[in-house]
């Protein structure tokens, strides 16, 4: 079976700076795959390159057997790749419901009422705040809104950029639990970029380690958790 997302030899540049130096990543249908790495390793760049902004200079990105390397962001999204960009990026002056409505743009075929009901089941707090403007939500609630908004279009692949960023540990655990739930019940494939390596590796089926724009390690979540190099670099060396 060919993977749902296949990134082959992708190199991405910011001006003269080579941020990705030939990255190969595969995500199979129904998997949770995580990408860990330190600051500046190119994690966010990889997610953004998959969405076509910035574009890969060389290499190929395939989604569901279709070459999407040269497509424009909004067309890529309409194929069934939803993204929660770094920093949440909810619409602050629009209400929670309006934010969710914007999530339906990518897939006009979905039943919005159903999607909203499902979102409020996953995140009950959003249901209580549904007429409140996005800017008045707490950081955690905004992250939930960003994830819920991405899920409204019922994507086949969900790209998440650091969902636990800036959240209290308890909230971060809650977000990870919901991600596992989404993957189990809806079968949504998830590709997750995280700095919180411990939680991310426990959540995922498989993981990649990115350093200086290259994939240096890959394996199942537990393999990577047990790997001494990963422990030393990303888990503070106390991975027992």
């Amino acid at each position: 079976m060919t993977p749902l997302l296949k990134v082959t030899g992708v190199r991405t540049f910011y001006g003269a700076i080579e941020a990705l130096r030939g990255v190969d990543v595969e995500v199979a249908e129904g998997e949770i795959v995580t990408l860990i790495g330190s600051n500046g390793a190119g994690k966010s760049t990889l997610l953004m390159t998959i969405c076509g902004n910035p574009r890969a200079r060389t290499g190929e990105i395939q989604f569901a057997d279709q070459d999407i390397t040269r497509l424009r962001t909004w067309d890529i999204v309409r194929l069934g790749i939803a993204q929660t960009p770094e920093g949440r990026r909810i619409f602050p002056r629009m209400t929670v419901l309006e934010n969710l409505q914007m999530g339906a743009v990518a897939n006009p075929a979905v039943d919005f009422d159903d999607g909203v009901r499902h979102a409020f089941e996953l995140f009950p707090v959003l249901g209580r705040r549904r007429n409140q403007s996005g800017g008045t939500l707490s950081g955690g609630e905004q992250q939930m809104l960003a994830i819920a908004r991405a899920l409204i279009s019922q994507p086949r692949l969900l790209l998440l950029d650091e969902p636990s960023l800036g959240l209290a540990p308890r909230l971060a655990r809650q977000i990870f639990a919901v991600l596992r739930e989404i993957n189990r019940t809806s079968g949504t494939t998830i590709f997750l970029v995280e700095q919180n390596a411990y939680h991310a590796l426990r959540l995922c089926h498989r993981g990649y380690v990115l350093a200086n724009g290259l994939v240096t390690l890959e394996g199942t979540g537990s393999e990577l958790l047990a790997n001494p190099a990963v422990q030393a670099a990303y888990l503070g060396g106390t991975g027992q």
Binding site: C51, G103, D113, S133
Partner: protein, 481 residues
């Protein structure tokens, strides 16, 4: 004397001092021309008056801010009454005969008006403190803004519909109201571009000009009627909107503003210099007037045709046409408003607002920013085109002079000060920024001063615009199961 009182006095003295420095050249000195030689005279009483008014006004403001009810209440009322008295004395004592007399005593009038208005504001603030001081904060329930604005909107619309029928309404008021409504409509059109889509367009007047010239040329060259030309002018303006939209799609914020400003000037300069087509600076005259369902407003209709007054069996009165014009622009403005309120609830309108909030998020959600921006530009321009045809038919004359940058600037000011995206806010701002200065034309250059003061006050008290409330486009949904 220590504590807050001394601080207040010091503060008031400082502010009065600054005011004195500013007021001396503006108020204290007067340059007049007697014969050929300019002479400099002084106006110390007015100067002193200004400083005293500001001293006590500032005292009142700081007392009101500290929440002391009585002192500022008394001070404010005293200022209000004093200002009003002085106004009466100025108006009767000096004899308000003719425009020349205005100029002589406007400083006094102006000062008294400021004192009176300031006094009322301070007294109002203090009175509110006085009434509120016993209540717990919890009891101050927030007003249901959406409802309140809805009723305010209905009241304003009802007033606008009934205005020509009210007693004491003369030609001049209807004329000013028609002008204000033109700006309200333009403001609502620009609100789509600036308020909803967040694209700062400083060249909006270009589309207004395209609409006006479209109608003027079609009417004069082919004799087309207003009702045929209206959609044509709107379409042409929308096409120009797309034309402008394409090259500027990648630009944001300041850069977009500069390019749109340039575009606005380009259109004006083309109109000015393309003499064969637009008649250059001489403009286009004898533009057709609109008819009332085929009935022209003429005192003596041609043989065998009917005119408005003969058909309805009333005596000819030129006011009929003015009132018709008023209702015409009112209807056009209502259409603009209804359109905007409706489209906000549709995916395209929501995408505009989302684009204003965060373009990157929009891209990542599958919104095509190019088409979304173009549609905002085109639809905003279309309404400017409608308003432009109305302008041409109302004036019967167009020339490039009517479409200068200041028009665009006033429109942007109306939208921004009204509160970006708020329909009622735009209408209120248009009344304040266009209606009042126009109605008080006798005040000559002081009306621009008042214009500036109005802008400064709005910026001080309502930095987000007059009405910052944003009504959500959807309200309730079934509660989560």
């Amino acid at each position: 004397m220590n504590s807050p009182h001394a601080a207040s006095l010091r503060d008031a003295a400082l502010v009065a001092g600054i005011a004195g420095i500013l007021a001396f050249p503006f108020v204290g000195l007067l340059l007049t021309t007697e014969g050929t030689a300019p002479t400099l005279s002084t106006r110390f009483p007015e100067f002193a008056g200004a400083v005293v008014v500001i001293f006590f006004g500032r005292l009142g403001v700081s007392a009101a801010r500290r929440g002391q009810g009585l002192l500022p209440l008394v001070l404010g009322l005293a200022m209000a009454v004093g200002g009003a008295l002085s106004l009466v004395v100025e108006a009767t004592g000096l004899g308000a005969s003719g425009a020349a007399a205005w100029h002589a005593f406007v400083p006094g009038t102006f000062l008294s008006t400021v004192a009176c208005a300031g006094g009322i504001a301070i007294a109002g603030l203090a009175g509110r403190n006085y009434l509120m001081q016993d209540r717990k904060p919890a009891e101050r329930t927030p007003l249901p803004m959406g409802q309140l604005l809805l009723w305010l909107g209905i009241a304003l619309a009802g007033f606008a519909i009934l205005l020509p029928l009210l007693p004491g309404v003369d030609r001049r008021l209807i004329d000013v109201a028609t002008l204000v409504l033109t700006y309200v409509m333009l403001g609502w059109g620009l609100n789509i571009v600036v308020g909803l889509a967040g694209l700062l367009d400083l060249g909006y007047v270009a589309f207004y000009a395209v609409g006006a010239y479209s109608y003027a040329l079609l009417s004069v060259t082919f004799g087309w009627s207003f009702w045929v030309c209206l959609p044509v002018a709107g379409t042409l303006a929308a096409l120009f909107g797309i034309l402008l939209g394409f090259p500027v799609l990648r630009l944001r914020g300041d850069y977009l503003a500069i390019v749109t400003l340039g575009f606005g000037e380009m259109i004006r300069i083309i109109l000015l210099n393309w003499y064969d087509f637009t008649n250059g600076p001489d403009g286009i005259t004898n533009i057709g007037r609109p008819s009332f369902f085929g009935l022209p407003f003429k005192s003596e209709p041609e043989q065998g045709t009917e005119s408005f007054h003969t058909f309805f069996g009333v005596t000819y009165d030129p006011v009929h046409r003015l009132i018709f014009m008023y209702y015409l622009i009112l209807a056009l403005a209502f259409v603009t408003n209804a359109f905007t309120l409706r489209i906000r609830r549709l995916p395209i309108g929501r995408a505009w607002e989302a684009l204003r909030e965060d373009e990157i998020a929009c891209r990542s959600l599958g919104v095509n920013p190019r088409n979304t921006k173009l549609s905002a530009f085109a639809i905003g321009a279309m309404f400017a085109g409608f308003a432009g045809s109305f302008f041409a038919t109302r004036q019967g004359f167009v020339s490039p002079e009517s479409f200068t940058f200041i028009e665009s600037a006033i429109l942007v000011a109306i939208v921004v000060l009204g509160g970006m995206g708020s329909q009622i806010g735009v209408a209120v701002a248009a009344i304040i920024l266009v209606g009042l200065p126009e109605y008080f034309r006798e005040l000559q250059e002081y009306r621009m001063l008042a214009f500036g003061m109005g802008m400064v006050l709005i910026m001080l008290w309502r930095p987000g615009g007059l009405l910052t409330h944003r009504e959500p486009t959807i309200r309730t949904r079934p509660a989560p199961a």
